[in-house]
Amino acid sequence: MIEFKNVNKWFGKLHVLNHINLKIPKGEVLVICGPSGSGKSTLIRCINRLEKIQKGEIIVNNTLVHDKSINLTKLRGQIGFVFQQFHLYPHMTVLQNVMLAPVNVKKIAREKAEKIAMKKLDQVGLTGKSGSFPAQLSGGQQQRVAIARGLAMSPEIMLFDEPTSALDPEMIGEVLDVMVNLVSEGMTMCVVTHEMGFAKKVADRVLFMDEGKIIETGTPDDFFDNPKTDRAADFIGKILTH
């Protein structure tokens, strides 16, 4: 479903993605972790072309992501993206936030789009907030709306860029619960996170990155309990004592 073929990217002199080869089959839940600056966010941001790459190729559903001639709108419609800082549209209500893309990208009629949006809001447990503005919601609620917004396009893939890092601890659970439910629906997911509990519970595979390279991959149990590299062991030690 998603394939990285020898992908390289530089920010100036910094080699942020260093010979990345990766295959993510349909339905897989992949957790990506690693120290900050290791390139994990950049990696998933390349999947929907928020970032350019300088070498190699990324293929999503037989589409060459960085080919200039592809229909980018169509590609992005298949991929939901959830940001660390939510990035809800502050001038629109919750419902308008969720309906926006179905109406304007998929050209779905308003009444129908509203039904879809309410269904997605129900899925994240926020139907009661449909008329609120983002600023009136807690961080956890905002992130759940952001997830509903991503789901409203009925994507095949959901990408999460540290979805709980900007949240107060007591709100992390509600967001992770929504994500766990998504897993049970068979969604293909790439999640950049340090939430070990989430990884152990639902991830099919954990990928550890450092300095732009994939250092090791494995099942969550293998990775967290028997890391193969010192760097991974060191990192796991740090998040455990954190």
């Binding site: 928020l50 993206f81 940001f83 549209y89 926006l100 893309a101 990208v105 952001a146």
Partner: protein
């Protein structure tokens, strides 16, 4: 003597109204064209196309760095040498459009730049096209930042129409010049001219103040 001149002034007051009408006409057309061009240029200026950005940047720098009178002279006296001959009225409109759009461009670009990159990325990630991103997400939010200085700029543009009197357009200021030759009471004549400008610009000043307060919240 004073009373005599005042009576004369009242007599030719319709002439002033004509000037006011011409000023309003130039101002209104200019505000509309400057806004349209200014928004287009502002979007380019805050956009990603480096070449277009540069060109707009040079244009804005040139306009901001030269007096409006000089710009009018270029349009009215220099363009004809390159075969572009304009009557005074369209020349005035063109000069206003060039000058005003550059200032509005800067206001719009500043407003757009004030919106965080995350908003662009969220909109792009949902599959919105660049035009949709601007129309639905960026500009509606940027308007909060754009509107107060934009209305303030409108007031300046209305007053700047007085400069087009130098190429003979019979607007309010020109009417003042012509009148003062016959009624040599400069203070009286130009007080009237000033008062008439004030009547059209003051409502906008009030709106600008109101918007500034409202948007600051």
């Amino acid at each position: 003597m004073m009373a005599f001149y005042f009576a004369r002034l009242v007599e030719i007051f319709p002439f002033f109204l004509k000037g006011l009408w011409m000023t309003s006409k130039i101002a209104f057309i200019s505000l509309v064209t400057c806004t349209l061009i200014g928004f287009a240029l502002g979007m380019i200026r805050s956009g990603n196309n480096i070449i277009l950005k540069r060109i707009v940047g040079i244009y804005v720098a040139f306009v901001r760095g030269t007096p409006f009178v000089v710009q009018i002279f270029i349009v009215f006296f220099i363009l004809p040498e390159w075969g572009i001959q304009l009557e005074a009225f369209p020349a005035a409109l063109l000069a206003m459009a060039i000058m005003g759009s550059a200032f509005i461009c800067e206001i719009v670009a500043g407003g757009i730049d004030s919106i965080s990159r995350g908003q662009w990325e969220a909109a792009a990630s949902s599959g919105l096209t660049l035009v949709q991103q601007l129309r639905l997400i960026i500009v509606p939010q940027a308007m909060k930042v754009i509107l107060p200085p934009l209305v303030g700029q409108y007031v300046l543009l209305i007053k700047d129409t007085s400069v087009v009197s130098v190429i003979g357009v019979m607007e309010l200021t020109r009417v003042g010049w012509v009148t003062v030759v016959r009624i040599p009471e400069g203070l009286m004549v130009f007080s009237l001219v000033g008062a008439l400008y004030f009547i059209i610009s003051y409502p906008l000043i009030l709106i600008s103040n109101y918007l500034e307060q409202k948007m600051a919240v």
